[in-house]
């Protein structure tokens, strides 16, 4: 049984069929990619899995446990972490606070601890801080810990978002266009970070990406989505040479 198993997921927005009969298996430690033209439904798939929308049909199983019908915070606490296409960071909080906050579901102390500052609270808050700093270290942004997010360059903001997602201790990390808007240098750094995250934390990664070079280099298996349907699935080389994919999506790139 796969870590994440999706069977026959279909979803409509009003009369519009956004996703049709979508299936997915992610194994522990696997890196998978989802590509497709704009509007194909990639982000919708992320939103369906993470519980922002509830799929009209289909099953989503994480470690054999059904996720459909659960609240987004329950799904996140069970091990799905994600980032967003448009960075969603808080301009009034420091980098460190972003990462600490995301550990909410991994903390045990309750209201009594919070109100009376019990030893357990103090111990756990110290652990949170330590873990958060480790993640910032891994993202190479530990020197920015006390900065407010709007003051950071774009590439660093992306890393803050990644650290925040990792702070929930996900089993699978969902990255929605992690290199959108990045310059070539930032892109290379981000690829390095994704590799490092995978090696050091051993988690599975599912990424949406427009930059094919990056998907082809990082992913073991790639799905191509067109109008909400998977038209091809396989290792990078197969996808590259698949006529349907070339027609729908890759055409120009391959000619180059």
């Amino acid at each position: 049984m796969a870590l994440l198993e999706i069977r026959h997921m279909t979803h409509y927005f009003g009369g519009l069929r956004a996703v049709h009969d979508y299936n997915l298996d992610i194994e522990p430690g696997q890196v998978r990619g989802l590509i497709g033209p704009n509007g194909a439904g990639k982000t919708t798939i992320f939103n369906l899995i993470t519980g922002i929308h509830r799929p009209g049909e289909g099953r989503i199983l994480l470690d054999g446990e059904e996720l459909v019908g659960r609240q987004p915070h329950e799904i996140a606490a069970r091990g799905l972490g994600r980032t967003f296409q448009d960075l969603r960071l808080w301009r009034h909080m420091t980098v460190l606070d972003h990462v600490k906050m995301a550990r909410y579901s991994k903390i045990g102390y309750g209201l009594v601890g919070a109100f009376f500052s019990t030893p357990r609270r103090n111990r756990e808050e110290a652990q949170i801080e330590e873990k958060a700093r480790e993640l910032l270290e891994m993202m190479n942004i530990s020197h920015l810990a006390d900065q407010m997010v709007p003051n950071l360059p774009y590439g660093a903001q992306r890393r803050v978002e990644m650290a925040r997602a990792l702070s929930t201790e996900p089993k699978i990390l969902f990255l929605d266009e992690p290199t959108a808007g990045m310059n070539p240098e930032e892109l290379i750094q981000m690829m390095g970070i994704i590799r490092r995250v995978r090696e050091q934390l051993g988690l599975a990664i599912f990424l949406i990406e427009h930059r094919l070079k990056m998907v082809m280099e990082l992913c073991e298996i790639i799905q191509t989505l067109v109008f909400g349907e998977v038209i091809a699935e396989g290792p990078p080389d197969d996808i590259k040479n698949n006529p349907a994919v070339i027609e729908a999506y890759l055409g120009k790139e391959i000619v180059e």
Binding site: A76, G81, R88, M93, M101, R103, Y104, G113, A114, F115
Partner: protein, 307 residues
């Protein structure tokens, strides 16, 4: 000069009430982008619950069954009333706000007004139209500090209020719940995806705001021992003004604005006839807002993101 200090003491006490109530408005606003217009009436309910608890404890103590000193009764009254009033807030959130969270803003805004009216009339039905008097609990002692008369109650009211404000500040800054509140203030979509239950946080926010309103109600009852079911209306509105003046969802801002309003009211009354007090005081506050439309700590733009 003595006159000035005398009024300063009064202003601090008066400001404590406004600030404590304003905090509840401000906290709810910051996480839900809604003003809980029932909050003034929750202050009233808190005062009545305090009255009930205090009266029961005094009776119990007088019967000799459980002889408690006055200060102990006060402490117990505050703690028990906070606990009980927090449930009022949680019920208001569950019944009035959660079902309407995605409703048009105007609909969600009037739920507070309606619940406020329900609480007022509910109280009338329950206790009748008579006013009740808050038991004194502690003996009043007046100190003469260089001609300025300060009562032990005034000192206590200001210190207790400041203590709770500090505690709230620490709670919001230093605990996982406070962090979740701060995050939720800016984004509804991401916060649950980080494993944070937003309904729990909303409920907690209402509970804390209501508990603070209960403290304000009890302290008010100590200073001005006559309670009536409509006492929350004017106080509620003025504290609401303080919350806006302090700036969007800012705890520090609501506290400062609450005290500032106490100062303005008292010092206006010191110079002008007291019938003109509110007219002049609120003209001044209006003028402040003209120059600082976002309040003291508000931000000039809103970045709430929604899917």
């Amino acid at each position: 000069m003595v006159f000035f200090f005398q009024n300063l003491v009064n202003a601090l006490q008066w400001g404590s009430f406004y600030a404590m109530i304003a905090l509840g408005y401000s906290m709810v606003y910051s996480i839900l982008m809604l003003f809980n217009f029932a909050h003034g009436d929750i202050f009233m309910v808190g005062a009545y619950i305090g009255f009930g608890v205090a009266t029961a404890l005094v009776t119990l103590s007088a019967s000799g069954f459980l002889a408690l000193p006055g200060w102990m009764i006060l402490v117990l009254t505050i703690l028990l009333s906070m606990f009980l009033t927090s449930f009022v807030g949680m019920i208001v959130e569950r019944v009035g706000y959660r079902p309407l969270r995605d409703a048009p803003r105007a609909s969600a805004a009037i739920t507070g007004l309606m619940i406020g009216i329900m609480l007022e009339t509910g109280n009338l039905i329950l206790l009748g139209a008579r006013r009740v008097s808050f038991p004194p609990l502690i003996e009043s002692v007046t100190y003469n500090v260089g001609g300025v008369f300060v009562t032990n109650k005034k000192i206590m009211i200001v210190l207790i209020s400041l203590g709770f404000m500090l505690a709230l500040h620490l709670f919001v800054q230093k605990t996982r719940y406070g962090m979740a509140m701060r995050a939720m203030a800016f984004d509804y979509v991401v916060v649950p995806l980080l494993g944070i239950p937003i309904n729990t946080i909303a409920r907690l926010t209402f509970a804390i705001g209501s508990a603070l309103a209960a403290v304000a109600g009890i302290l008010f009852g100590l200073a001005y021992p006559v309670l009536d079911p409509y006492m929350g209306i004017v106080f509620g509105w003025k504290a609401f003004v303080a919350a806006i003046l302090g700036g969007r969802g800012s705890i520090m801002g609501a506290t400062l604005a609450g005290f500032l309003m106490g100062f303005i009211e008292i010092f206006v009354a010191m110079v002008f006839p007291s019938t003109l007090r509110d007219l002049i005081a609120y003209s001044i506050i209006l003028l402040i807002l003209v120059f600082r439309p976002h309040g003291f700590f508000g931000e000039p733009y809103s970045a709430r993101l929604r899917l």
